[in-house]
């Protein structure tokens, strides 16, 4: 009995430590977003803002990059206008993310289904090659993309990001969906076929509704990858999306941690809301195929 209690205590203690480890950075970011810069790094550590302020959040909406400028002799001139560009960047990131998800689900849905249902000469090799492409770091192929988009006149456009993101999200989505389609009983399609349904109708009316958790899980992972992608946006555009804009808040001369924290909170909200909305599908989607 005593051993059992001790074991439970250890488990809970371990869980509590894990939670602190995971959540403390988030807590620190939230805390910082309500502080003035002079309170950051103060010793002893402030667990709660001494004079809580919304100035960092207001700055995001007003585009004021130096909300705490004192205006003294030689007062700080803001070193960046990134704050003013954050809200439009969030809009563009959403647009790019949604477009990448949509194109991924259409292409990867069809490709994943084909991999699952058709065996053709070289299909295994093709599938393995597809998975192997995930091993190539995206940064290694940014130059060919840049040249291609320069010739096509697509530099500094959202379309450039949508096309390039598809290149490294599609293999992941195809793999996830193929795995999911494998778990959908073929007998359902066979029965539908017997009743006269076409292959496409089977896919749309029978398989797709059953595969909804897989499609949502794949879509969410693809969205998160597109949302947080930094380097392609940096190279192919003039900071159209959120990550490079947030990076613009940092430089050697000025490091506005509190404004950066508020900006980070803004950028965290959309993916978190989406993940919360669809969380019940995610586990089911990712666990597909684990139990026969």
């Amino acid at each position: 009995m005593r051993t059992s209690r001790l074991r439970t205590l250890v488990v809970y203690l371990g869980f509590a430590l894990f939670l602190i480890w995971v959540l403390f950075p988030l807590y620190f970011t939230v805390l910082s977003s309500f502080m003035a810069p002079s309170e950051i790094g103060v010793k002893p550590f402030h667990w709660w803002p001494e004079n809580p302020t919304l100035a960092n959040y207001i700055a995001i909406f007003t585009g004021d990059s130096a909300p705490f400028s004192t205006g003294q002799d030689g007062g700080i001139v803001s070193s960046t206008d990134a704050v003013a560009r954050l809200v439009p960047a969030i809009g563009r990131s959403l647009l790019v993310g949604v477009a990448v998800v949509a194109s991924n689900l259409i292409i990867a849905g069809a490709a994943g289904y084909a991999f699952s249902r058709y065996e053709f000469r070289g299909s295994t090799v093709a599938y393995l090659l597809l998975l192997a492409s995930r091993v190539v770091p995206a940064i290694a192929v940014v130059l060919p993309f840049f040249v291609a988009f320069r010739h096509l006149g697509l530099l500094n456009t959202s379309l450039a990001l949508i096309i390039s993101y598809n290149a490294f999200t599609l293999p992941l989505a195809i793999w996830l969906l193929k795995t999911y389609f494998d778990s959908v009983p073929r007998e359902l399609e066979e029965a539908a076929k017997v009743d006269g349904a076409s292959r496409l109708r089977c896919l749309l009316m029978i398989v797709t509704p059953i595969a909804r958790p897989g499609l949502i899980a794949a879509g969410l992972l693809v969205f998160l990858e597109a949302w947080s992608e930094f380097f392609y946006s940096l190279v192919l555009t003039n900071s159209l999306t959120v990550p490079p804009v947030v990076a613009g808040l940092q430089n050697l001369q000025q490091f506005s941690w509190t404004t950066l924290a508020a900006a980070t909170m803004f950028t965290v909200v959309p993916p978190v809301l989406i993940a919360l909305a669809f969380q019940r599908y995610i586990v089911a989607g990712l666990a597909a195929g684990s139990v026969k």
């Binding site: 810069p37 790094g41 002799d73 030689g74 960046t80 840049f146 430089n251 050697l252």
Partner: protein
């Protein structure tokens, strides 16, 4: 409708509209989209030059964008070309710029890190400036020591200044008085002793420095120069390793860290942490670029107003490192376009059309940045723009007589050496490598990298 029953191992039902082909097409699309850029873009030619006058393209990192736009508007008002500005965040600027240039983008004028400037010329991404009218005059207008950043030993002029700065020790005057220290330190031994005293008196982290891996190379040079040690000879050989005083400097450095005279996170903390530590009184000394005094002063903290600057770095020689970044001209600009780009370079990195240092005055006002020109220190507009708590004659003296740009820093291999310094010095500070071993290894690194040319 043609229905076939499934056979083992496959489900080869085909409908009239060949949906198998449709699905195969989708499969093919899934496979080929990732490969498209690879197939389309290999071997893009980058040799053509653009001679057509018109809107110039300029790429800069995202520091003071409003000032940049104002300056470019002013350039246009003075008869210069219109400029299309592209801003890239500091984080990732180098790789992004390199990718764009390598990808054949024509950029007429761009900011660059001084350490990368020679490499860009050698790679054919940036042009030399020797043939442009006034290039020699521009260099002649500089402090002699500063010109070595822009003119290579072989005579090629590769860049003009974007800004310059010197490393100085900032210190809290009030702290020193309060703890019975009558004057700021003049040698590194005094720095150590004063820090010990301050630590015993309760100052948590008396000495602050931006000792992250990326910046340790600057500190290595700062500490060597302060004691009169020549880091590299004219040919770029690491002669610091032959000077026995180098080991003393390194021992001092290691003791500063291991004896707890810095904050525990000094090897990873960003400058913002140190600025706060100075403003809050948690640190008394802060070694970094002179313009950080402005940031400390304008950070609202109880000790911000007590922080001042020591214009002679502690050490037997008192010399310091002069740093600065540069502006280069794109190699694809030719003919009249190149002349227009050169005009922008002169405006941005020297004087405007009416002979005033308007760009540097703008940087002085925004961020207390300097330029490497003695004339700046005689220019009333520039002096008025600079924060009043700087002693400008002393700052000028530091530039003119007590600082060194260390010309080897623009060698093509030097960026790789900087990485090595970061790794090796941090290992030494952490006690994972001894001092002699570190000095020898650094010298070997420098020789090997220089021999390999990378």
């Amino acid at each position: 409708m043609d229905v076939r029953y499934p056979t083992a191992g496959s489900f080869p039902i085909s409908a009239s509209l060949s949906r198998r082909n449709l699905l195969r097409g989708a499969l093919a699309a899934g496979l080929t989209v990732p490969a498209v850029p690879l197939l389309t873009a290999c071997g893009d030619s980058a040799a053509k030059t653009n001679d057509t006058p018109g809107t110039l393209s300029m790429t800069a990192w995202e520091a003071y964008p409003e000032q940049i736009r104002e300056l470019l508007a002013s350039f246009k008002n003075q008869g210069g070309s219109p400029v299309d500005l592209s801003l890239i965040p500091n984080v990732g600027y180098g790789p992004a710029l390199q990718t764009r240039l390598q990808g054949g983008q024509a950029i007429d004028v761009f900011y660059n890190f001084a350490y990368a400037s020679t490499k860009y010329v050698d790679a054919g991404w940036a042009g030399t400036l020797n043939d442009f009218p006034g290039a020699e005059d521009l260099l002649a207008d500089m402090f002699p020591a500063s010109a070595a950043r822009h003119r290579l030993a072989d005579g090629r002029i590769i860049s003009v200044p974007y800004f310059s700065a010197v490393h100085n020790l900032m210190y809290n005057e009030s702290h020193l008085k309060k703890h019975g220290i009558s004057a700021p330190p003049t040698t590194k031994e005094e720095v150590y002793e004063q820090c010990r005293k301050l630590k015993s008196a309760g100052v948590p982290s008396p000495y602050a420095g931006y000792w992250t891996k990326q910046f340790l190379e600057e500190y290595l040079l700062v500490y060597l120069l302060a004691d009169g040690i020549t880091p590299f000879d004219d040919k770029g050989a690491p002669v610091f390793a032959d000077d026995p005083r180098t080991q003393d400097v390194m021992e001092w450095w290691k003791a500063m860290y291991q004896d707890g005279l810095t904050s525990k996170d000094v090897l990873t903390a960003d400058p913002g942490n140190h600025v706060t530590a100075m403003a809050q009184g948690n640190s008394t000394f802060f070694e970094l670029h002179h313009y950080f005094l402005q940031i400390v002063r304008t950070t609202e903290g109880p000790e911000s107003g007590n922080v001042t600057i020591l214009y002679r770095n502690p050490g037997t020689a008192g010399t310091t490192l002069q740093i600065g970044e540069v502006i280069q001209i794109g190699a694809k600009s030719g003919g009249q376009r190149a002349q227009d780009a050169w005009k922008l370079l002169k405006f941005y990195g020297w004087k405007d059309d009416v002979g005033k240092y308007s760009t540097f005055t703008s940087w002085a006002k925004a961020a207390a940045l300097l330029g490497p020109y003695p004339g700046l220190f005689k220019d009333p507009d520039f002096l008025a723009a600079f924060p009043s708590y700087y002693d400008m004659p002393k700052l000028e003296n530091t530039f003119a007589n007590q600082s060194d740009v260390v010309p080897t820093r623009v060698a093509p291999w030097y960026a790789s050496f900087q990485v090595k310094v970061g790794d090796r010095i941090q290992a030494m500070l952490l006690g994972q490598a001894d001092v002699k071993e570190t000095v020898d290894a650094l010298a070997t690194d420098a020789r090997n990298l220089a021999a390999a040319g990378q």
